[in-house]
Every structure is written in structure tokens, then in C-alpha cells.
């Protein structure tokens, strides 16, 4: 087979972007269209093409060096974008979640106006996420991050008549704007300290201790070899951590998450808490593993030890997210806080690193695997909430009483999601959590391991409340379920099947993740 041009590596992002443009075009031709099947169809096709191409590239060996039998790693636009295995892995997560979300939205938005805008915004945001997966410089990362964020502010406030949703959107926007400013300032400080924005250039600057510049696409020391001001670099890194914490809804920038997830339409909550979180993490993994190598940072001294920062953040995020979730009375809000807790689990990916910087690729691959499993089980859970909202079931735990009698298939799927989220071996969540557990023990991070175990035990308590309500409690009030929306059902059941299949199939996921993390 002839070698494809290297820009084809971006096919997943292109497919998503093209779909969003087609949607915008159709909207300008026929404004206020309510032809939901066509709109949702374009979106589903776009995301499935993205998914298929990303999976195809992974299997085909794109992103693996030719010396190891792969197809080589496409490096585009002078090193601004790089399509390696990690980029493709996260493109798979984003595309899968997007496909599920737009499929489910087919029923959810069919009663609302501005449908074309809804789907176009989702696809635009997904495009940003795929670009973020491949971003190889702080500049592209920032632009991609804004492409992710701006549509999501509007999406959170999509239900214009819902005051809670509008308020959540505004809050999300304000906190997002502040954190973008913090991130941009951090980027400028890193640039000032190292002279480059490309991740490999920053790494060279840190390891050599001299400010670098880029000449004809290759990194060189600046003339006169000025030294890197480590204290400025340290402040810059700290601010980048802040920006990442916002996007991944980690403590201490998690306050927006419960509001936004609760106020947003439920499919969007699933989209934000799964795909958007994954996009935030791919940025974090790449920046900290490639641009700020911990071994070199410690060797030079002076600059910040970000592993300790992430250890504190991980433990705090796990505990705050899970304890807050345990005290909630509304199911959606409980899931929102549990999503904060899961961000804490994934942060272990950057925290389970030994003092000499070993174990990073192992822990990152554990975090990646958890994000992939989480993409299905968490999106599925939020889509079940969407289904409940569609039926007019209330928001509290009691309102779910006896739902299992009326909708056994959907409730069985929800049971799979919840137990998998809790880490019982009924879904892939058990293995990904175990993988994280192993990563912590691998470097002897006992406090992280203990936090993981304690929080998993606690999480079972509040997840099982939903299961108990659905199956064990008797229905309290009058409720009649008269329709079974096809799109939502397909998405929920599909996500449940994948969550379950990740039990026997987890090996493939973890192997690809490990290889991707090693190739960084």
C-alpha cells in the first residue's frame, strides 16, 4: 500500500471538523431546521469516521517508529502537531464519547430549537479535543484548548429557559476565562524562561540549562548561551498545573464542575466529564512527560518538583470528590462529584513517580487506560440520566425508585456503569483501577495507594444507592414511561456492552497505552 501523506494523520480531527462545517453550512442554508435525523446523522457519521480512522491508524502502526516496525510518527506544521500513539489513543476516546453523545442527543434535543448549532458546537469542541491530543507546542495547545472550551460554555447554557443551566454556563465561562488567563500567563513565563514553545525545545532547554531557539525547525541554543532562569520557569510550570487542573476538574479548580454538569443538558454533562476531561489530561501527560522531564528538572535544582504537586492534588481531589459525592441528594450532582473523584484517580498517572523520575510511563499508561474505560462508563451513566430526564423522572435518588421494573434493560446497563465506576469486576473499571493501584505500589507511593483503596470503598456506597433505588425500592409516585427513545437506548446499551467487553479486552487497551506512554 502506498504511503499516505503525513497530513492524513490528522484524519480524525479533519473528519470531526468537516462534520461541524457541514452542520454550520446546512444551518446557513436552512436556518431553524428541526430535521434532527439529518443533523444527528451527519454528526454520528463524522465521529464514527474519526473513530474508525484513529483505530485504523493505531492498528496500522502510525506513531510507532519505523525502526520498531511501525509507520513512523507524522510531525506536522514544523513540529506543532505530532500524531503519535498517545494522540491516536486519545482521539479514540474523544471520538467514541462524541459518537455516543450525539447519538443520544438525537432524542434529547428533538424538542428544542437551535439544533444545528447544538450539533455543530459539539463537533467543534470534539475537533479541538483531537487537536489537543496531537498538540506538540504550548501555542497550539492553548489554541486547541480554547477551541474545546468556547463551544462548551455555550453548550452548558444550551437550555436557555433553564435558569440553572444559564447560571452554570456563565459560571463555567467566568472560571474558564480566568483559568485560561492563568494558563496563558504560565505559558508566557515558560517561554520567557526557555525561549521556545515546542515541547521538545523546552525539554532541551531544561536539560542543557540554556535558553533555546528554533532555527529551520530544529532546536538550537541561543547565541551567547544564556542560562535558563529556573525560578521563572518554576512559576510558569505551577501556572500550567493550574490551567490543567481547571480543564480536568481537579482540586482546587473543581468548583465549576458540579454546577456545570448539573445545569447542562445531561448528554453534554457526559461529554464534558468524559471527553473534555480526557483532553485536559492528554495535555497534562504530554506537557509534563515531554516538556518538563522530572529527572532533568530535579537534576538542575531550583525549579519546581511537579510530582509532589500532583501527589497533593491527586489525594485532595480523590477525597474531596468522593466525600462530596457521598453527601449528595441528587443523582446528577452525585455523578458530577464522582467525576471530580475520578480526576483524582487519573492524576495518579502523574503522581506515581519515584523520586528519581522512574515509573512515569507506567503510571501514565494506567491513567490513559482509566480514561478510556471511564469514557464509556461515565458517558453511559450520564446518558442514562439523560434518559431519565427525557422520561421526566425527578433528580433525587428517591425519584429513581422502582425504575428497574419499568425499564429493565436501561437499568441493567446503568448497574453495569455504576458498579464499574465503583471498581467491581463487572466492567473495565476494576482493571483500570487495579492498574493505577499497581502503578502506585510500583514506586512505593503508599499514601496514594491507600487513598485509592479508601475512596473506592467509599464510592461503592453512593453508587450502590442508585442501584438500590432502581431495583430494590418500590416506586413512590405516579410515573408513566410511554416511549423508549431509540437513540438514547442505543447509546446507553452500546456503552454498557463496551464497558463489559473491556473486562476481557482490557489487555489490548493497556498494551497500547503502555506503548504510547513509552514512546513519548
Amino acid at each position: 500500500m502506498a504511503q499516505l501523506p503525513s497530513w492524513m494523520g490528522l484524519a480524525p480531527a479533519l473528519a470531526l471538523g468537516l462534520a461541524s462545517l457541514v452542520l454550520l453550512l446546512s444551518d446557513s442554508i436552512d436556518p431553524d431546521t428541526t430535521n434532527t435525523p439529518a443533523l444527528a446523522g451527519i454528526s454520528v457519521v463524522g465521529s464514527l469516521v474519526a473513530l474508525a480512522s484513529a483505530v485504523g491508524f493505531i492498528i496500522g502502526g502510525t506513531g510507532v517508529p519505523t525502526s520498531e516496525g511501525g509507520q513512523g510518527t507524522p510531525v506536522l506544521f514544523g513540529g506543532q502537531l505530532v500524531v503519535d500513539q498517545m494522540a491516536l489513543f486519545f482521539m479514540v476516546i474523544v471520538a467514541s464519547v462524541t459518537a455516543l453523545v450525539v447519538l443520544a442527543s438525537y432524542d434529547y434535543v428533538s424538542e428544542h430549537s437551535y439544533q444545528a448549532e447544538f450539533f455543530a458546537l459539539v463537533m467543534l469542541s470534539a475537533t479541538g479535543m483531537t487537536l489537543l491530543s496531537a498538540a506538540n507546542s504550548l501555542a497550539t495547545a492553548f489554541v486547541a484548548l480554547e477551541l474545546v472550551s468556547l463551544p462548551s460554555y455555550a453548550l452548558v447554557a444550551f437550555l436557555k429557559k433553564n435558569r440553572g443551566g444559564v447560571e452554570a454556563g456563565l459560571k463555567y465561562f467566568l472560571i474558564g476565562a480566568v483559568s485560561s488567563a492563568v494558563l496563558a500567563y504560565g505559558i508566557s513565563l515558560v517561554y520567557a524562561a526557555t525561549g521556545v514553545l515546542r515541547f521538545d525545545g523546552i525539554a532541551t532547554a531544561i536539560s542543557s540549562g540554556t535558553i533555546q531557539t528554533i532555527v529551520d525547525g530544529s532546536v538550537q541554543a541561543q547565541s551567547g548561551e544564556p542560562a535558563v532562569p529556573m525560578s521563572i520557569l518554576g512559576v510558569g510550570i505551577l501556572m500550567v498545573i493550574g490551567g490543567v487542573a481547571f480543564k480536568t476538574a481537579a482540586v482546587p479548580f473543581h468548583f465549576w464542575a458540579p454546577e456545570a454538569y448539573e445545569g447542562a443538558p445531561a448528554p453534554i454533562s457526559g461529554f464534558l466529564s468524559s471527553a473534555s476531561k480526557a483532553a485536559g489530561f492528554v495535555l497534562a501527560f504530554r506537557v509534563f512527560a515531554v516538556a518538563f522531564p522530572i529527572g532533568d528538572l530535579l537534576a538542575t535544582g531550583g525549579a519546581i518538583n511537579w510530582v509532589v504537586a500532583f501527589q497533593i492534588l491527586a489525594i485532595a481531589t480523590m477525597f474531596i470528590g468522593n466525600f462530596a459525592a457521598a453527601t449528595q441528594e441528587k443523582v446528577k450532582r452525585m455523578l458530577a462529584y464522582s467525576s471530580v473523584g475520578h480526576a483524582g484517580y487519573v492524576l495518579i498517572g502523574l503522581a506515581a513517580v519515584s523520586a528519581s523520575g522512574e515509573g512515569l510511563s507506567f503510571s501514565i499508561s494506567a491513567g490513559m487506560s482509566h480514561l478510556l474505560v471511564y469514557g464509556f462508563m461515565n458517558t453511559g451513566a450520564f446518558l442514562f440520566i439523560a434518559l431519565a430526564e427525557y422520561w421526566g423522572v425527578g433528580r433525587r435518588f428517591e425519584d429513581y425508585n422502582g425504575l428497574g421494573k419499568e425499564a429493565p434493560v436501561a437499568c441493567a446497563a446503568m448497574t453495569v456503569f455504576l458498579f464499574s465506576l465503583a471498581g467491581l469486576p463487572i466492567g473495565g473499571g476494576f482493571f483500570s483501577k487495579f492498574y493505577l493501584f499497581q502503578a502506585t505500589l510500583n514506586v512505593g507511593a503508599w499514601s496514594l495507594a491507600a487513598a485509592l483503596i479508601i475512596n473506592s470503598a467509599l464510592s461503592l456506597f453512593y453508587y450502590s444507592r442508585v442501584v438500590k433505588a432502581m431495583w430494590i425500592e418500590e416506586p413512590t409516585g405516579e410515573r408513566s414511561i410511554d416511549s423508549y427513545p431509540m437513540g438514547l437506548y442505543t447509546a446507553v446499551v452500546g456503552a454498557a456492552i463496551v464497558t463489559f467487553l473491556l473486562v476481557p479486552g482490557f489487555n489490548q487497551v493497556s498494551e497500547i497505552a503502555f506503548q504510547a506512554a513509552q514512546l513519548l
Binding site: 476494576f430 492498574y435 510500583n442 438500590k468 431495583w471 493497556s510 503502555f514
Partner: protein, 511 residues
Amino acid sequence: MWVAALIAITLLGAGVVFLAPNRYAGKLAAGISAVPALISVYMYWVYLTQYGGTGNALLSPGDIAFSQQIPWISLGGLEVSYYVGLDGVSMPLLALTTILTTLALVSAWTPIDERQSQFYGLMLLMEVSLIGVFSALDFFLWFVFWEGVLIPMYLLIGVWGGPRRKYAAIKFFVYTNVASLVMFAGLFALVFATDLTSLALPAMAEAFRNASGLPTVAGINLMTLSFVMMFFGFAVKVPVFPLHTWLPDAHVEAPTPVSVMLAGVLLKMGTYALLRFNFTMLADTARQLAVPLAIVGVVSVIYGAMLALAQRDLKRIVAYSSISSMGYVILGLVAFTPHGMGGATFQMISHGLISGLMFMSVGVIYNTTHTRMVGDMSGLADRMPWTVGIFVAAAFGYMGLPLMSGFAAEYLVFLGSFDAATLGGAAPVLTALAMFGIVVVAGYLLWAMQRTLFGPFAIETDYDVGPAAFHDVAPLAVLLLLVIALGVAPDLSYDMIQHSISPVLDLGGGA
């Protein structure tokens, strides 16, 4: 292949039953579950005639019967595989599981009258996990099945249970899940301390046996710490005093067929895991801790029996006496003698059959009279002669009547523990104390039977009391025949148990 077939057929059957209409679900489920039951009986026969001399699945992996191994997951240097196989300990337990499930499903026809397809589907799902627990030889696979038992059980108690079912279901769930986490943490502390590359149980057994230079945590050797954590985890399941409080609640609230599975098979998961992990993998530590463990066992025997004496609810009586019976298993295991360990394993099978029979009989009486309280009824023998006859026979089996399996099991346990080297001078005392438990058992069972079954007929409820239906009594008769068969010819399973126990004893041990 055989084990995979058992799992696949049962799993497929569960799916079919979930989709079946409520009216046919019970008959369909019983019919489907007869297939794995027959297959496992055939496997048992093959094992009995062809594998007579195989060793222990953990200690001589070359000899495992029906074994199959397929690589599954590799997690950063830890190889996990689909690895199943049977030996003389797990084969009888597997047969017990499949046979008892079929009988329990039949016994459910009368009491379960709502959401039948979900009930029977969950029962079959639970059977899948139970088959897996007794046949898995890879820790990860085993743990998946171990936890997999929990979810169907939780729902079975919570949905179809009695008035306090929600409380009982949550209590069961929380107790056993916390226990699992403690056990998991304890085991993995050892796994990472010994640099294992495979989670196959034989490999773990070998690595733990040869482990040296283990770190100490807070002055305690890691091996001892892990042993205690794992013992705690499994002891909740057994259950052992003082971790038993979930059991009476779960039993009383659970519907009869679920109680049968709970007492008959689920409790054996705990003792089976103790035998496999604590007493085979960590045999040296178990020998060192034998005396305190034996005391725990004996206290369970006496305490369970005393509590049973104080109950009025027939189901509670049987539930508490199960705690007592499981105490004998602990006592037999710590003895580390051929008859002690063998008897303990035999007691698992025997108690599975007898307690299942007792719960089923109580269930049949309850279905007819709608009360289980001693004192609310008397003279049932006139009205339901077959049920009462079997109930009396079962009770005598429980008391240890010769020629029934309970006698053989308890006799062997006492024989083994009486001169156990591990217990030293305490052995005769502990054994004598445990024997006293049998006297108490005889006391409360005779008392309860005399008040409810004999004398002039009287009942406090308005229900019409007549003979039970054929399909209610038939499972009782089958179980009674099995109890008598094992009592008359214990070698049907005691022989293969001995073959698989002796490698554990041959480990020697430093103590």
C-alpha cells in the same frame, strides 16, 4: 474445556431466562441448570475413576484435572490468565454448587411469585460466579468471580426478601465488600513484596513459600500481617465470631432458595478460600498461629450454638447453627492433620447439603403455614407427613447421627484435632469444648422439633395446612439421599479430598 462449557452454558442460560416470560421462567431455569449439574456429575465420575491420585491444584500443578490456561492480561510484568482446573477439594464443591442450584431453583417455584424471570436469571448468574470461584486457578480470575457473586446476591436479598430486606441486603453488601478490600490489600502487599510475575495460584503458592527477607510493618512481619488481613477478609464470609452479624439478618430476610444457596455454597467460599490461601499458600504462618485460630473456631462453635438456643424463628435457629458448624471447619483446618483438614473439607460438603436441606424444609413449612415461629404452631406431623419426616431426618443429620454425612465430617474433624501437633497441649481441651457444641445442637433441634412438629395440631394463622406439593418435597428427598449416601460411603469424596490435602501436610513447615 469442561469448566469453560459449564460457565458458558450457565451464562447463556441466565441470558435466556432473563428474556423468558415470568410464567415459564422457573421451569426453564431449573431445566437449564440441570445441564451443568449433569455435566458436573459426569466430571465427578470421571474424576473419581480416572484421577484418583491427583495432588493439590496449588502444589502440584502438573496433575490438575480439567485444566485450561489461556493468557489474558499482562499488567506491567504481572501475567494474568484464564486458568481453571479442579482437584479433590474443588471437585466436590463444584458438584455441590451445581446440584444445589438446580434443587434451589425447583424449591423457588412455590414462594417466588413476582418478577420471576429476573429472579431465576440472577440465580443462574450467581451460579456462574460460584462455578468460577471453585475452579479458577488464577487470582485475578478468581477475584472477578468472587466479587461477581456479590451483586446477584445483593439484589436477590434486596428485591425478593422479607420485611427488612433493604437493611439486610446493604449490610451483607458492605460487610463482604469491605472484607474483600482488606483481603485484596493484604494479598497484594505480599505479591509486590515477592516480585511475582504471574498471578496463577500455583505460582503464588510457590513464591510465598520461598519468600524470605520480607519487610516488617510496625514490628510485624509482612507475612503475618498479610495472613491476618486475608483471614479477616475470608472470616467475614465464613462467618466467624465476631464478624458474623450480617448472616442472621441476611438469612432471615432472604427468600428460601436464596438462603439455601447462602448457607449451602456461599459460606463455603469463605472456608474454601481460607484453605487455599491462608492454609496452603501461607501454611507456615498458619501453623504458627494455630492456637489463636483454633480458639476463634471453637468460640464460633459454642457461641453460634448458644445463640441458636435462644431463637424462636426456625430460620434463625438454622442460621446461627451454621456459624457453629463453620467453626468446626476452622478447627479442622488449623489441626494440619490428615483427618483434621480432610474432615474440615468434608464438613464443607456435608454442611452444604444438610443446611440446604434444613433451610428448604423450613421454607416448605413456611410456604404452607406462613409462620416460622416455634410456639406459633404444633403437630405439623399429622398434616404434612413427608415434609416433617424429611425435616426430622435432616435434623438428626445435623446432630451427627451415624450413617449420615454430618457424623462422618464431625467425627473426622475431632479425630484430627484431638492430637494435632500444631495445637500442642491445647488440642484435647479445644476438641472437647467443640464437642460440647454438638450437645447444644441436639438440645435446640430436639426442643424446636418437639414443639412444632409433634403433639396435637394447632396453628396461629388462618392458612389451610396440608401436604406440600410434589415439586416442593422432591428436592428435599434428593438432598436427603445425598446426605445418607455420603454418610454410608464417605469415600465417595473423602478419598479424593485426602489425595489433595496430603500435599498441603507434606509441606512440613517450620513450626
